[in-house]
Symmetry: C2
Subunit: 247 residues, 2 copies
Amino acid sequence: MASLQSPPPFPLVLKLESITDLSPEERQALLGLPLRVQEFRADQDVVREGDRPIQCCLILEGFACRYKLTEKGKRQIFAFHTPGDIPDLQSLHLKTMDHSLGTLTPCKIAFIQHEHLRELFRQHPRLAEVFWRDTLIDAAIFREWMLGIGRRSARTRLAHLLCELFMRLKVIGLAGSNSIPLPLSQAEMGDALGLSTVHINRTLQELRGEDLVAWDGGILTILNWEGLMQAGEFDTTYLHLQDCAAA
Amino acid sequence: MASLQSPPPFPLVLKLESITDLSPEERQALLGLPLRVQEFRADQDVVREGDRPIQCCLILEGFACRYKLTEKGKRQIFAFHTPGDIPDLQSLHLKTMDHSLGTLTPCKIAFIQHEHLRELFRQHPRLAEVFWRDTLIDAAIFREWMLGIGRRSARTRLAHLLCELFMRLKVIGLAGSNSIPLPLSQAEMGDALGLSTVHINRTLQELRGEDLVAWDGGILTILNWEGLMQAGEFDTTYLHLQDCAAA
DNA sequence: CGCCTATTTGATCTGATTCAAACAATGTGG
DNA sequence: CCACATTGTTTGAATCAGATCAAATAGGCG
């Protein structure tokens, strides 16, 4: 009875409810946003450094990342993005993109006109705060990554990243009880952690050798969550999950 | 005739006008914010990781930084802050501090109740956008630092930092034509760039040896701006200075 | 002066990069 | 269904940028 199943959850609502509470009206307003949906293949740029977008991207399906290249062509990935994220929300207030957004896997992406977001914020001022909050969490994640890249060992950094991805995918309902899809190449992980592909490979083997995780066919399985958190010096505070109102 | 001089410019207005335009009413509203001013010595924490502030800090005088420590006690500095900055503006929307704010030099700091900022935003909704914009630029700087720490050489990173500090101090009127106060120890620069003190020392000598900069008595003099920008792969785009309206 | 902190220098070590090549998996077209 | 191309993973060896350790020098200042 396919016709009886409830509509698929709207990723944006799921994502925002992982960091705050939404009123029914707010939820309704988000559902009503006019979207233009577009499919992308893997490894395609969605927005490029230097662009001056008049719309924001909402990821509906797939993995994407934000990155920038060095003059020598080295890449640093700043963030991984998953369904429900609006990676270039900043373009609403910063006219020129200072970095690029690209897909990592095939993606379904919805475009929302700045115009419509501004109108949404006029109607629901608290939603503006929620989105502001979201960009602040974004920045908090940058800081945590900086701490890792600047001051932690390769092993700690990688373990930390895996912990983060597990947590983030969990709260948006994309994680199994102890596994997540991890459709990243080792080169991409290296670009995110400021390490070479070769070193990622060896470090990953280390974590697997200690039975902290398993990785097969794009699926990461957490074998020892406590151990992995410890190896990654992982503390969820910086993700600011739902601490808006409560303790 | 000291009594005839105009009042000292309010750093916050100066800072915000470096990234956007303000209407006379908005300027007036900012000037009217109730402040509680407090003096700090160097190397003191103003806000600490884990705190749940009910106010924001506005730096009036001095240098401060945001940082976090590794479990092994290593420090990563995320940002340097100068007069006009509100380094913990995020506490308005993220209840728990995920990092600390400390002084680097003696500082004069004004505290603004969250309450008063919220009221300000109610009266002047566009100011909320301006402050949001400011936190987005903050994040853009984090990304640029990440790119440096992750993918650039020590020499490039250091040159880049010096370029950034020069530009930022210039727009708030704290730079000479080719010099700025740089009251940082080499250890602090190291903590910001993810390098050891010793290596900062040698790298700094390199830049001085090439006559790109001079550094004496806490004053950094730019001897060759073009050369320094090139050495640092420096491009101001990420600072988003006043691109709000114009080109 | 003497104390404390910051800079500088030298020597040694190491985590991570680079280069190179093998190997595995996946997909493509004939 | 196989040959081939392509892309990602794995392994080994050599190298290097930057860390660490240790000690000397130089400022600032009560």
